[in-house]
Point group: D3
Chain length 132, copies 6
């Protein structure tokens, strides 16, 4: 795969999402609501090492997000999954489960996910060669 | 946990589901429709060893079924997950991800899943002691 | 297909649903709420002949109900579709679209639909031979 | 409305749900999983008096449960709503919002909800006359 | 909170949505389809004063839209809720119910909602000072 | 209807979607995953002539996509439906079924669909007059 347009499009999209997510999470942090604070804490804790390790849980989060068809959630969990060390082939295999369970209505989100994976990998190569 | 009522209720429920599933899958096998046959084949194949092993994929199927709130699918994947060797603590940890992603609307299906796990384990003990 | 258990089970289920639906629709008719009355009227009107004929619309209603995974709605539209003259092969072809769009999570509802179709056809044969 | 069959059916259904819910919540209480315990605590807390009073929040929970089409959740919130003092007319008006937002796929759950309301009211009258 | 970027972004987004909504509703008004016209009328009527007042119903619409994860619907109901006089703290409390019922998959829509609330309030202050 | 802004907006949107869809489907074609390849093949096959003709199946796909609220899927099936010869009035009648089944949460997708239909028709007129 060449570093084609869909990769740079997805990188711009991921950058925009990261900025928006950061700004809004900070803004939400200002809201004095115990329930909301606790919900965000619980969400973070759900993916930490427990009986299952964090790596496996991120893959569960990816598949759950994909069948529920939430692109922002798919992107978030793909970034976590790549950090956790899942390979492209493993991510495709997980997304295939989501495709079969969730049906063709999942296809636009599958396209989105593949573009995100390509952008994450291009970025990894980019940061590795940054050191050169 | 004693072998309480909720366990025998869930065992009866699982038996009824297994019978219904068997009868209807046989009936569906009689339908001459290539698309339907292929869909069922594709569904079966999605959980076989690949880049991810079958055990991991069954856990993905369980979480996908739980957030999509399908009790029959939850039961099916719990049976597969128990066969694949996941422990109770690991299953609870996976179901917790489903609970956090899918919200309190998942709780009735979580109750259902816990009853099913108890029935599966009671049955395992039952079949082990059957040999005595 | 023999007139097997799954057919008589489905016939009992359809009878129970018809009774419950009748009783509750009558009960709901007693509620003095203009919005609710109008919603039920609008729902009935959506399937009448228009630019599309009623027969086609019932098939649309069946597929919509199947991908949204509502067994009662599937049963209702299958009864209407059988009345409208759709054959088994046509209904399977429509349900296959629902299966592909909605994924394997639809399978339990597909099993339900096939049992309902068998019960409807057995009943049709039954009522034809009633006259003998 | 006479104390008709649909009312006693719904009362039996509510009793069965209350028993199952009690048994399973106790069973879930035995599970040593911090995330699950916290999720249940957070769910309980979401309906307590805050900027909005508990009565209003239960109505929000009812409408959320209805558009998400979870009968057990609908029953739970209807019991809470009746306790909180919402009248039948107010509950119908809230369910009408759910019907319009969620569409005709909600109708089976609307029927379920109306039967539950009737059973709750019949029970209230029953317990009042118990004292005689 | 300063009148930060996320506020002006959300204001532009709300303006774009208002324009698109206006143009398309006018366009839809040209379609000669009685069912469609009645559905839109019924949708409007569902939020008028009845057994419940309009203010309460808009909050119900907001929570229903949030758990069903429709950003345009969330924006529409937030504008109505602000007009009806709900405070930020009350809106957060309602959104918290939606978060707990609908789970972490709702979080991107919660972020969206908080940005919309900030844009609505900034606009209110803007229009008040316009008169100066 | 004049060839107004919403039409050129929708045409730009459809062009962007066609490009993205083409690029990503080619990219997905490079992925060596038998399950994914078969799922895409099965999806294509579901709309070919069978017991039901392709034209009817595209309408089923449109309604399924609309009630499941997937704009990209709605656009794809509207393009196929227009190719298959469905008129505007027939498409509105199908979308009305989707609106009634799926509720007001479908309205933003209905607006989207109407804009897409207008863009498709404007394009058809455009290509016819291209020959002049």
């Amino acid at each position: 795969m060449a570093n084609s347009d869909h990769v740079s499009d997805a990188q711009r999209r991921l950058d925009g999402f990261a900025t928006h997510r950061g700004v809004m999470n900070e803004r939400i942090g200002e809201i004095e609501h115990l329930g909301i604070k606790r919900f965000f804490a619980l969400d973070g804790a759900a993916y930490r090492d427990g009986a299952l390790d964090s790596k496996t849980k991120e893959l569960l989060g990816l598949v759950a997000s994909t069948v529920l068809r939430c692109n922002d959630c798919v992107d978030y969990h793909l970034l976590q999954c790549a950090d956790a060390g899942w390979t492209d082939e493993e991510l495709y295999d997980a997304l295939n489960v989501a495709l079969v369970v969730g049906g063709s209505i999942v296809i636009p989100h599958f396209r989105h996910a593949v573009a995100t994976i390509d952008a994450i990998r291009a970025n990894e190569i980019g940061s590795e060669t940054d050191g050169d």
